[in-house]
Amino acid sequence: MSDKEICDNSLKFFGAVTASVSHELNNVISIIDQTGGLLDDLLYSADTGKPVPQEKLRSIVDKIAVQTDRGVRIIKRMNYFAHSVDEAVKQVNIVQLTDNFARLMQRLASQKKIEIVASFSADSIQINTNPFLLELLLYYLIKSSFISYNTERKLRLEINQSSSKVIILVEKLPDAEAPEISIIEELAGRAKCSFDITLKDMIVYYRLKF
C-alpha cells in the first residue's frame, strides 16, 4: 500500500465517520426541534384555555436534556477522533482510543444489526502508536464483518494486557469475508504493532500485538 493509497483510504474513512456522526447529530437536533415544537403546540393550546399539565412540561424538559447530553457525547467523540491525526506517532491510552472508536462505529454497525461489545482489562493502557492509522486498521477489521444479518449479532472487541504485551482482539463474525491481509499488515506496521489471526473459544479473532 503506497502513501497515496493510505492517504486516499484515510480520507474515505474520515468521510465515513464524519457522515455517520453528522447523521446522528442531525437526528439529535431533529428530536430537540420537534420537542421544542411540541412545547410551542402546548403553549398555543394553553392560550386557548386548555391547561398544560405540569408533568407534561417536566417530560419535555427531560427529553431536551437527554438529547442535549447525547449531542454533547457525540461531539466529544468526534473531537477526540479528529485530534487523532494531530501527531504521527505518540503515546496514547489505547483503552480510551478503542472505546471511543467502538462508540463511533456503533451507528454504522447498528445498520447491520450488529452490536459492538468492547471489553478492557484495565482503564488505562499506554502504548506508542500512530493513533489515526490504528483507528483505520480497526475500521478495516470491523468493517469486514459489517454484512447484513437477519438476527442481531454481537461483535467483540477486547484489549488485554500482560506483563510485556498489549493485545487487541477483534472478532471476525461468521460468514464475514477476511479483509485484504497485505493492507492489514501494512497498516499494522505503520501503527507499530504486529498482526495475526487466532482462535479463542471457537471464535476467530484478528489480533494486534503491541
Binding site: H23, N26, N27, D33, Q34, T35, G37, Q111
Partner: protein, 127 residues
Amino acid sequence: MDKIRVLLVDDEGELVTTMAERLEYRDIVADSAISGVEALNKVRANPYDVIIIDLKMPGMSGAEVIRTIKKEYPDLPLFLMTGHGFSLDGEEIPPGIVDYLPKPIKIDVLVEKIQGVLKKRTKDHKI
C-alpha cells in the same frame, strides 16, 4: 369527514412519537414504528392514508420496506425522511416516493404535504 391516518417510521423512537403527538394537535391520527418489520406489520393491520419513512434503519432498510409496501399497496403515498437534504448516502432511491423531507422536518410543511398529496389523489380518482 374521516381524519387522515399517518404512519411515521424511523428508528429514532423519540422523533416519531413526538412528531406523532404534534400531528394529533393538527387533527391527524398518527401512529409510529421504529423498525421496518414493525412498520410492515402496522401497514398490513391498519388503513393508513400516508406513510412517512426514514431510509436508514437497522435490519430491514427503509428502501426494502418501501418496495414491499409499494408491491402490496401500490396507491399508498410514501414520503421519505432524509438526514441530509437530497443526499441518500449512496443508497438507491426506491421508486414510488411522493417527495423527500429533509430533517429537521417543519411540522406544518409536513401537514401541507400530506394534505396536498391526498387532495391530489381524491381529484385524480374523481377524474
